[in-house]
C-alpha cells in the first residue's frame, strides 16, 4: 500500500515536471497552429462561418501555382547542389590534411549566422560592383561581365546553397567517419582501383548519411524565410508569400495568409515523416 502510494507520488511529480514543457508545446505551438487553421477557414475579417475559398483560390490561381513550383524548385535545386558539393568535400575533409581543423570549422559558419546577414553579405559579393564581378573583369576578361546574380533564380539558389549545404556536409562527414576502414582496405586488397572503391563500396555505405542530410537541407530550404525576403526580388516562395499577404495589403489578408501557412505546414510535416523514416532505416542498419 505504501509502495503504491509512493509510486503514485512519483508519477505525480513526473507529470508536474513535464507540465512546463507541454505547456510551451501546447500553448505556443499547437494552439497557434489551430488558430491559424481556424483563421484560414473563416471568411476574411469575420468570426463565424466556414469557407474553403482561400485554399481553392490559392491552389487554382496562376500565382499560387507559380509560388508552389518556385518553392519546390528552390528546395530541390539547393538539395542537389548541396549533395554535389558535400560529397567531394566530405571525402577531402576526412583525410586529416594540414589545417583540417580550420577547414572543418569553416562550414559551421553558415549554421551560426542568421540568414539575414548571410543574404546581405552575398548580395554585396555578387552585386554588379561586388568582388565576384570584379574578379571576372580582372581575371577572366574573356567573359563579358558584369554577370547578374542578385535577384535572379540561379543567384537565389546559390545563396540557399551557401546557407544550407552544411547540413548535408556534416551528416555525410559523420557517416563517412563512422565507416570501418577495413572494408575499404579489403576492397583495395582485392584489386579494386580507388574509383571503384569509391563507386561500389564507399558511396553505397554513406548513402543513408547523404540522404538524411539532404532531407535536412531540403526542409530548411523549403521553409527559408529571411533569405528570399531580402534577396528574392520578385521571386516569392511560400514563406514570403505568407508574409506579403499581411504586409502588402491594408487591411491585411489574414485568412489567405493563414491558408498558405497551413499548406506549407502540412507539406513540411509530410517531409518530416519521410525524414524520420530515413533516420529509422539508418538505425536498423
Amino acid at each position: 500500500m505504501r509502495h503504491l502510494r509512493s509510486q503514485r507520488r512519483e508519477w505525480l511529480t513526473t507529470l508536474l515536471l513535464l507540465l512546463p514543457g507541454f505547456a510551451v508545446f501546447l500553448g505556443l505551438f499547437v494552439y497557434p497552429f489551430i488558430i491559424t487553421i481556424v483563421l484560414s477557414l473563416r471568411p476574411e475579417g469575420q468570426t463565424t462561418g466556414w469557407t474553403l475559398e482561400y485554399y481553392t483560390s490559392f491552389l487554382a490561381s496562376e500565382h499560387g501555382r507559380q509560388v508552389i513550383v518556385l518553392t519546390f524548385f528552390l528546395a530541390i535545386a539547393t538539395t542537389l547542389f548541396s549533395v554535389l558539393l558535400s560529397v567531394p568535400l566530405a571525402l577531402v575533409l576526412r583525410r586529416k590534411l594540414r589545417g583540417h581543423r580550420f577547414f572543418r570549422a569553416v562550414p559551421l559558419i553558415p549554421l551560426v549566422v542568421p540568414g539575414l546577414i548571410g543574404a546581405l553579405g552575398l548580395l554585396l559579393v555578387f552585386g554588379s560592383r561586388g568582388w565576384f564581378n570584379l574578379f571576372i573583369r580582372d581575371v577572366l576578361p574573356f567573359i563579358h561581365g558584369p554577370i547578374a546574380v542578385n535577384y535572379t533564380i540561379s543567384g537565389l539558389t546559390l545563396f540557399y546553397v551557401w546557407l544550407y549545404f552544411p547540413y548535408t556536409l556534416l551528416t555525410t562527414l559523420s557517416t563517412l567517419e563512422g565507416l570501418d576502414p577495413g572494408i575499404e582496405e579489403a576492397a583495395q586488397v582485392s584489386g579494386a582501383n580507388p574509383w571503384k572503391v569509391l563507386r561500389h563500396v564507399v558511396l553505397p555505405l554513406i548513402m543513408p548519411g547523404i540522404l538524411s542530410g539532404s532531407v535536412l537541407t531540403f526542409m530548411n530550404a523549403f521553409g527559408a524565410f529571411s533569405i528570399p525576403l531580402v534577396a528574392g526580388g520578385n521571386y516569392r516562395p511560400l514563406s514570403v508569400d505568407v508574409y506579403k499577404q499581411i504586409q502588402l495589403f491594408v487591411p491585411a489578408h489574414w485568412s489567405q495568409a493563414c491558408a498558405i501557412a497551413v499548406i506549407m505546414g502540412v507539406l513540411q510535416v509530410v517531409f518530416l515523416t519521410f525524414y524520420m523514416r530515413v533516420l529509422r532505416g539508418r538505425k536498423v542498419k
Partner: protein
C-alpha cells in the same frame, strides 16, 4: 593534392567573402567605382548606426528579450528535462520528437497564430511577449539538452551523498548541480543564439518600442543605406561568431546540425 587545396580554399572564400565584404563596406567611404577596396576608411557608419538608428536602445531591447527567453527556457528545460532524463516515460522518443516539432516546422507557419493570440492578450510590442514567442523555439532545445544531461547523471554519487548523510537540498547543490552545470551552460548558449538571431517570430510580434537587432537590420535594408546596414550587421554577427569560436572544440558538429538554429 593541389586540387584538394584549391577546393578547400575556394570553399573558404565562398563562405567568408560575404563577411569580409560586409566588414569592408561598413568602414569604407566613397566606394562606388569599380575598385576592389574603398579609397578612404571611416567610422562614420557606426556613428550613424548608433546615433540615427539608435542602436544602443535596440541592443538594450535585444538583451532584455534574449535574457528573458533564455531564463524561461532554461527553467522549462531543467524541469521537463529532468522528467525526460530520469523517469521511464511510455513513448519517450515519440514525446521528445513531438516537443521538438516547433524547431522542425518553419516558424512562419505558426507565427501568424502567435501574432493573433498575442494581439488579443496585448503581448505584442512588449519585451515579455517577444521573449515568450522565442521560448517556442528555445524551450524544445533546452529540454533536449537537459534531458541528455540528466540521463548522464551518475546515480552512485547521489546515493553516496545520501548515505553520507546529506539532505536532498545539500545533495542537489553540492553533487547534482556541479554535474549538470555544463549541460545548463550549453543549453543557455544555444538558446541564447536562437533567441538573439530569431527573425520570423520577432517580425510578427515586434512594435516600435521593441525593435531587436535582426529586425532593425532588416528595416535598414529597406531604407537602402547599405553602409549603415553593414555596420549593424557587423555588430549583430559578432557575438555569434565569438560563441562559435569559443565552443567549436567542445561541441560536435552533429549537435550544431540539430540545435543551433531553427529554420
Amino acid at each position: 593534392m593541389i586540387l584538394t587545396y584549391t577546393l578547400l580554399v575556394c570553399l573558404s572564400i565562398f563562405i567568408f567573402s560575404p563577411f569580409v565584404l560586409i566588414m569592408i563596406k561598413s568602414i569604407g567611404k566613397d566606394w562606388f567605382g569599380k575598385l576592389w577596396l574603398p579609397p578612404t576608411l571611416t567610422l562614420d557608419w557606426y556613428k550613424w548606426a548608433i546615433n540615427v538608428a539608435r542602436l544602443p536602445e535596440v541592443m538594450k531591447n535585444t538583451i532584455i528579450v534574449t535574457g528573458l527567453a533564455v531564463a524561461m527556457s532554461t527553467i522549462v528545460g531543467i524541469f521537463s528535462g529532468w522528467a525526460f532524463g530520469r523517469r521511464h516515460l511510455p513513448g519517450k522518443e515519440l514525446l521528445m520528437s513531438m516537443i521538438l516539432l516547433p524547431r522542425m516546422i518553419p516558424p512562419i507557419t505558426y507565427a501568424l497564430g502567435i501574432a493573433r493570440i498575442f494581439y488579443g492578450l496585448n503581448l505584442v510590442n512588449t519585451h515579455f511577449g517577444i521573449a515568450l514567442a522565442h521560448v517556442t523555439l528555445c524551450a524544445p532545445y533546452a529540454i533536449l539538452v537537459m534531458s541528455a544531461t540528466f540521463e548522464g547523471l551518475d546515480e552512485r554519487m547521489l546515493e553516496a551523498a545520501s548515505v553520507c548523510g546529506a539532505n536532498p537540498l545539500r545533495t542537489f547543490f553540492h553533487v547534482t548541480l556541479p554535474q549538470i552545470m555544463p549541460g545548463i551552460l550549453s543549453s543557455m548558449i544555444f538558446t541564447f543564439t536562437t533567441s538573439y538571431n530569431e527573425f520570423t517570430l520577432t517580425l510578427m510580434t515586434y512594435g516600435a518600442d521593441t525593435l531587436t537587432l535582426p529586425i532593425r537590420t532588416y528595416l535598414a535594408v529597406g531604407e537602402g543605406y547599405w553602409e549603415v546596414t553593414s555596420a549593424m550587421s557587423v555588430i549583430m554577427v559578432l557575438p555569434s561568431l565569438l560563441i562559435l569560436f569559443l565552443i567549436q572544440r567542445q561541441v560536435k558538429p552533429e549537435q550544431l546540425v540539430g540545435g543551433f538554429k531553427g529554420l
